[in-house]
Amino acid sequence: MVLFALISLSIQNLMGAAIVFGAYSFMMCLIWAGMGAVDVAFTEAAVGAGVSTVFIVSTIYNTSATMRSRPGGMAFKFFIGVVVTLAGAFLLSALTDFPDWGDPNSPVNATVVPYYIENSIDDTHVPNLVTSVLADYRGFDTLLETTVVFIACIAIYSILRIETAKSKTDETEEGITSPPSYDPSDSLIVRQASRFMIPFMQLFALYVIAHGHYSPGGGFQGGVILGASLILLAISFDLKFLLRHWREKSLMLLVASGVFLYAAVGLACVFMGGNYLEYGILDSILPGDQAMARSHGILLVEIGVGITVMFSMVAIHINLASNGRFDRGL
């Protein structure tokens, strides 16, 4: 694993570095599954190995894959190496103060966590502890993390997006001067395969969101898989094909509406007389008792997270792949 990290940094070709970095992510995914963190492994497989590799590749597509290495600078690299080694040595010297690996009675495992494990099922009827902690006990954390994804999406828009009026003139000029040429990426096999796969990917993603209460999964993973299915559509056909179905404006509205849904569920709890994001109070409008209401509240929140993550992944990909022009790209 460490080896993969080193290789991905030492390869001169950036495309190769991106692919090796994807392999590194898959190794991390296996390690997390081994430590019992299946939800994290799932997320890493979808995000680290899938989407982030695509982001790096689409950036490289718009720029250049070759690195110009310059002679000299080895002394500088060595100096940085010494500094970093010193920092690492300091970190290692603090090692004895940390609890042992796998100690069930360490402070991390012994303070608030036993409550979550013992009471999750009575409080919320959710067997997957990760989901109940994510969306119920730690609802504020997740709301703000979703907001961070939303803000990152806006940031990328404001950095890369180029005015449409300008790009329209570019487009017409290009359309007149250059006749449509043969595109080597225009492969029948790739198109038909993705046409066949995308419905199943989306169905699986919906299952992951809806079944996150009982098995590994939830809004983040399902949202990333849904986003990845649309990104696959954009890669195998072209960006215009995707944008015909999903307008830029509706993409951004949907990104915002996911966060809005999350916040609205919280506000609904306030209007019903409870605290913010206290889903138990919603039992008068949702079916079932208080615990069932919390379970339904978690589902609503997860759907909000899924919508935001899905469309922000798509929007980030479109921006990176088309260099902000929204016309063509990877």
């Binding site: 982030s52 720029t63 004895t96 966590v113 990176l320």
Partner: protein
């Protein structure tokens, strides 16, 4: 004599807790890449490696010996008094890292977008060349 036993103690500690050693190594690699690599994309990859080091720290600190995945089985769901806390890995660190991964990819996207913008201006990813361009 006293020194040597203390030394072997720390060695044993290092071997028993090699997860922390790996964390430190990953963070060192990431930090080195962010500082020493001249290429902006490589810097982004270094940032992601640094981040996986931190995620590994959290996940390994929440792992328990002999513990299972934090999903309750059907039997336990029906008898909620039968839950043994130490049978399940720590869900709290896991959810923190789960969201951190997704936020991490969003911030990686922001980094790459900035790198693309720099490339549009200077048509290079190399740090020194960018600085030379700016001086002109």
């Amino acid at each position: 004599m006293v020194d040597s036993t203390a030394g072997s103690d720390t060695m044993e500690n290092l071997i028993a807790n090699f997860n922390y050693v790996i964390v430190v190594i990953l963070m060192m690699i990431g930090l080195w890449a962010m500082l020493a690599q001249k290429n902006l994309i490589k810097k982004c990859i270094g940032m992601a490696i640094f981040q996986t080091g931190i995620i590994l720290f959290f996940i390994s600190i929440g792992a328990k010996n002999e513990a299972k995945v934090p999903i309750l089985s059907k039997f336990v769901v029906e008898n909620s008094s039968a839950i043994i806390v130490n049978d399940y890995a720590n869900p709290l660190t896991q959810i923190l890292m789960l969201t951190a991964i997704v936020v991490g990819v969003a911030t990686l996207g922001v980094g790459l977008a900035l790198a693309q913008k720099v490339y549009q201006q200077h048509s290079t990813f190399h740090e020194d060349e960018i600085l030379e361009n700016q001086r002109k």
